[in-house]
């Protein structure tokens, strides 16, 4: 299958970006260096092209019911211009995807939502929404608009200052997880105070055709998926496909440390299973850890206890550019999940001492 390309593939190429396949998309992984891009976001401001993220638009008389029954969070708390982090779970409460749900301005007097599945999941989520809508006989229109929107993330302590210069309207009053429509170079963009780096910042949904105009309006460090990964990992944010995977590493939100997205007082697919999990407690949990010995933890490496018995697996790992220390996430039995617990990560056959740490690894907004 040919890779999908973001609207600015050519522009990024001219800028000297290196590319990588991610979720079926050919995305910039690095513009200058991951370290420089990472530092720009931690200390100043950087911009990411995250056009590989999906966009599913849901509207109609039963839009709220449909969204509510297919996501774990409580959509009824969303006013127009609010957004929330949520998981999409199956009947067993296993995470299929994680997403941000936006309540858009009402269309034709009906509640309207846009949710952002991970790269490559948009078609499956679109189908899932249609199937359940039909099964439940709900009245809602579900559109996959992934190819209609580019998505950019402006992140860093100076993001608000730069956005204020570039956006026509006042923007700094936008609260965390609030969203509204703004104008950039005459282009209307849906803008949320969200991100995936642990820093302050904004995410812009931009009409595909106008992507270059909006991207070029921000004079700051362009950043690739490499820095996005090191930034999110320092912030302790999970990555779909790495820290959970419906097929290869099925996990509930409670195991993945995102139980706060589960509102058991709502009705949704997976709710009953998750209620049982919550009552019984999880056997394994995602923990953060830091290597004390030299080495770099990587996805798939074994975690052992101090006696050398394999007790878990690394799901994400890197050399933290901010901390200059090797950090990672991995699943371990709850008896090993307490911060301060000493474990071993097996790097090329060699056990490396690791210590469980609370996440985020750094101070975040």
């Amino acid at each position: 299958m040919p890779l999908q390309t973001p609207p600015l593939r050519g522009l990024h190429d001219e800028r000297g970006a290196k590319f990588t396949e991610f979720g079926g998309w050919d995305m910039p992984v690095e513009f200058d260096s991951i370290r420089e891009e990472h530092a720009a976001v931690r200390d100043d401001v950087g911009i990411f092209d995250v056009s590989h993220m999906g966009e599913i638009h849901v509207t109609g008389p039963d839009a709220t019911t449909l969204m509510g029954r297919l996501t774990s969070n409580d959509v009824t708390t969303l006013e127009v211009g609010d957004s929330q982090y949520a998981t999409i779970t199956d009947e067993e409460g296993i995470i299929i995807d994680d997403t941000v749900v936006y309540r858009l301005p009402d269309e034709n007097g009906e509640a309207t939502y846009l949710f952002v599945p991970n790269a490559g999941n948009d078609e499956a989520m679109h189908e899932r929404w249609i199937e359940y809508r039909n099964e439940w006989g709900l009245e809602a229109t579900v559109d996959n608009q992934t190819d209609e929107y580019a998505m950019f993330a402006l992140q860093g302590p100076e993001a608000a200052a730069l956005a204020s210069d570039v956006v026509a309207e006042p923007i700094d009053d936008l609260g965390r997880f609030e969203a509204r429509s703004v104008t950039i170079e005459g282009i209307e963009c849906w803008t949320a105070r969200t991100g995936y780096t642990g820093e302050d910042g904004f995410e812009f949904l931009v009409p595909w055709m106008d992507a270059e105009t909006v991207w070029s309006a921000f004079d700051c460090q362009p950043c690739g998926l490499g820095a996005r990964d090191t930034l999110r990992l320092e912030a302790g944010y999970v990555l779909a496909g790495e820290d959970f995977d419906h097929e290869s590493d099925p996990r509930t939100p409670y195991e993945a440390g995102i139980g706060f997205t589960v509102k058991l007082d709502t009705e949704f697919v997976g709710r009953d299973a998750l209620e049982r999990v919550k009552e019984e407690g999880v056997e394994e949990k995602l923990v953060g850890f830091r290597l004390i010995d030299r080495g770099v933890p990587r996805h798939g490496y074994d975690i052992t206890n101090t006696e050398g018995r394999v007790v878990g697996t690394v799901t994400s790992g890197t050399m933290s550019p901010t901390l200059s220390a090797p950090i990672g996430l991995g699943y371990v039995p709850v008896e090993y999940a307490e911060p301060g617990t000493t474990l071993r990560v097996i790097v090329r056959g060699q056990p490396k001492k690791a210590r469980v740490e609370t996440t985020p690894f750094i101070d975040t907004v």
């Binding site: 370290r35 490499g226 770099v296 050399m319 550019p321």
Partner: protein
């Protein structure tokens, strides 16, 4: 993108370089990776190297280099005994990015091998340039 390829040393297809330390004239060869290789890897964060006194064998793996995004094996351009290890890299692996042919060197090896020998299959700077073009 153009890369530095000093003509005073020879290269493996796998992007390591070998440089005879002429001033010594006693068969000591310094080893590192090329500018092209460090650029492909991106930010180097970790190197695993043999210790002084260990032996390495031409064409075989002698260590590992890791960047933020990749793990890569290091191959020996010559055979011999390790007489010096650039331990500065353990704390400052970014020197491999900053100065791959200078301060980012990895090992010095005492060897009887002749860098020009056909057996080693080492490339001249021009040949290496063609390979990465």
């Amino acid at each position: 993108m153009s890369f530095d390829i000093p003509a005073d040393r020879r290269y493996l297809e796998s992007h390591e370089w070998a440089h005879a330390l002429e001033s010594d004239g006693d068969g000591v060869v310094r080893i590192g990776i090329s500018d092209f290789a460090q650029d492909e890897l991106g930010d180097v964060v970790f190197v695993e190297l043999p210790e002084e006194g260990e032996s390495i064998t031409a064409g075989e793996q002698f260590g590992v280099i890791e960047s933020i995004k990749a793990v890569s094996d290091l191959y020996a351009p010559v055979s011999g005994e390790v007489v010096a290890v650039n331990e500065t890299l353990f704390d400052s692996p970014e020197l491999v990015n900053d100065d791959p042919f200078g301060e980012g060197w990895m090992l010095e090896v005492e060897t009887d091998d002749d860098l020009e020998s056909a057996d080693l299959e080492l490339l001249s700077a021009d040949e290496y340039d063609e390979q990465i073009a």
